[in-house]
């Protein structure tokens, strides 16, 4: 049987995210605090398409987890060019750490980067339950019980922090990117789920801006608490428009939701836009290229 020369063909068919994945791995691995670097999702399984996200699990020395998370927004902005501060990932499964989602331009396109920062002590258990491709495996320094407790406490407190209007705006922008991907792929069930999540984020944004001390859970008593001023009625009008649309959106519905949200933020909590003006202009430009 003759030997076939397949290397050039393999190279030509590599996932388009591979250079970005490689660059991000280099960035993250530069810190000795990083003990493990794993890729999960479609890029790990060989099923990626051009819209696939880059999904990393990053093992971090337990004692360094708080400092690492604190530095992450700056690191991703400076080294990777992330458009926005990271969104605290509320979709990802709890694996004892902290999940963040960034939007990073590369080669003229916007990519979704999922970073799950896990305490090093949790990595063996995590590897046993989650399918990943291992890029880096450094022997972590021995973790004391106190250090493991610090990491655990930090992760719990991190997610317990109330979300600000700026964070909720970023959640909308990230979800819109996800939705465009679902629509292009024809993933209607996931699109339905994320569309509902986007409406929920809109409700949360309105409550955070206009009823920050609300005693009511979820969607209860919105009219009683918020529709008592002109600005409140206008914002609830936006929410009414949002939930009156189709169950599974088209791309134009998603774009309209983003613009409606930006107008809502401008009206109800303009300080949330402070410092994000250029990022939002860039986000719009990249979205057109998606």
């Amino acid at each position: 049987m003759p030997t076939l020369q397949l290397a050039a063909l393999t190279f030509a068919n590599r996932p388009s995210q591979l250079p970005l994945l490689s660059r991000l791995a280099d960035i993250l691995a530069a810190s000795p605090a990083v003990t493990h670097l794993m890729v999960r999702g479609s890029l790990a399984h060989g099923t990626a398409d051009r819209l696939s996200d880059v999904d990393f699990v990053v093992g971090v020395q337990d004692a360094e987890l708080p400092a690492f998370v604190e530095a992450l927004d700056d690191l991703m902005s400076i080294e990777a060019g992330a458009l926005l501060p990271g969104w605290r990932d509320t979709i990802v499964a709890d694996l004892g750490g902290v999940g963040m989602v960034f939007l990073v331009p590369d080669d003229g396109h916007l990519h979704q980067i999922d970073l799950y920062l896990a305490p090093a002590a949790r990595i063996p258990r995590l590897r046993a339950t989650v399918a990943t491709a291992l890029l880096l495996d450094r022997e972590p320094a021995p973790t004391t019980t106190e250090e493991a407790a610090v990491a655990e406490r930090f992760a719990a407190e991190f997610f317990a922090q109330p979300r600000t209007c700026a964070e909720l705006l970023i959640e909308h922008l990230v979800l819109a990117v996800l939705l465009h991907k679902r629509i292009k792929r024809g993933q209607r069930f996931i699109a339905y789920s994320e569309w509902h999540r986007l409406h929920t984020a809109t409700k949360d944004l309105i409550k955070t801006a206009l009823a920050p001390t609300s005693r009511f859970w979820g969607w209860y008593q919105l009219r009683e608490e918020i529709a008592i001023t002109p600005i409140g009625r206008t914002c609830l009008g936006d929410l009414e428009t949002a939930i009156s649309g189709p169950a599974v959106p088209l791309a134009a519905d998603v774009d309209a939701a983003v613009e409606r949200t930006l107008a809502l933020v401008e009206r109800a909590c303009p300080e949330a836009l402070s410092g994000l003006e250029n990022a939002i202009a860039a986000y719009r430009a990249y979205l057109e290229l998606m």
Partner: protein, 276 residues
């Protein structure tokens, strides 16, 4: 001298470019099969690419500029709208390039040596593809070169350029010798007040917070990122000349790395053309 007047001496808007022609030029710049060449100097982050439209050799990949009688490259022959504009202007070209600045790319604060030259020449920019996060900073003021005009840059102050978030910024850059055609083009330099935006001043508490954040990043092993975090302050705040280099030296001193501190003190002198 107010800020706008001071900046107007550094950067000015000259004639307008016809919008339909500009759109064709933009299409050409974004679609031409150009041999982009990376230039990685000490004063930039990477992400700065150029390709020549007129130069000494006629080879588009020859991008190291110098005095010459420029002739069109093979690339310009694929770009008729661009060639038409250059011909209409009728200038005495020394070198004409396309320059592409990627997202998250920076030319760090520096001063050019051009004022030492004996030959009168000028640098003209025609923005073809840009975004609001791409701007030049000089004298504590940021200037976003909007499309639609020819801009003249004569930066004798320390200055820097960035494209924070992208997409790519592409400018046509023409270095031209002064002659009657140039003087006609430059007869009425202006700077629209809306084009120049003073950056906020940086207070000591903010600088201390950023220095502390840089220490935290360096403590995690991300020393180069910590340096770049401080370099980027030049694009966010009006700072005294060279302050970002002083901050980096201070960072290294506080980390006990006197050799790195001395290296950045030296870099400051070199990049800002300081003689002392």
């Amino acid at each position: 001298m107010d800020t706008l007047t001071a900046v107007a001496g550094q950067i000015a808007q000259l004639d307008a470019v016809d919008s339909a022609q500009l759109e064709r030029m933009r299409h050409e710049a974004l679609t031409a099969r150009a041999p982009w060449k990376a230039e990685y100097g000490a004063y930039q982050s990477g992400g700065w690419w150029t390709t020549s439209l007129m130069n000494a050799s006629g080879d588009a990949s020859d991008v190291t500029i110098g005095d010459c009688a420029a002739r069109p490259t093979d690339l310009l022959s694929q770009m008729p709208a661009t060639a038409a504009l250059l011909a209409e202007l009728g200038l005495n070209y020394m070198w004409v390039r396309l320059a592409r600045l990627e997202a998250n790319a920076f030319l760090w604060e520096h001063r050019d040596y051009d004022e030492l030259d004996q030959v009168e020449r000028h640098r003209l920019h025609v923005p073809l593809h840009t975004n609001t996060s791409a701007f030049l900073v000089t004298g504590g003021t940021k200037v976003h070169m909007t499309g639609g005009r020819i801009w003249r840059l004569t930066p004798t102050y320390a200055h820097g350029v960035c494209n924070l978030l992208g997409p790519d910024r592409i400018h046509l850059i023409a270095d031209v010798y002064a002659d009657d055609a140039y003087r006609r083009l430059a007869r009425r330099p202006t700077l629209h007040p809306g084009s120049a935006e003073p950056l906020p001043s940086a207070d000591q508490a903010m600088l201390a917070e950023r220095l502390q954040a840089a220490r935290g990043m360096a403590g995690l092993g991300y020393t180069a990122a910590a340096e770049r975090m401080l370099l980027r302050l030049f694009y966010a705040y009006a700072l005294p000349e060279g302050a970002v280099y002083d901050l980096i030296a201070e960072l290294h001193t506080s980390l006990g790395d006197e050799e790195a501190a001395a290296r950045w003190a030296s870099a400051k002198r070199r990049l800002l053309a300081l003689t002392a």
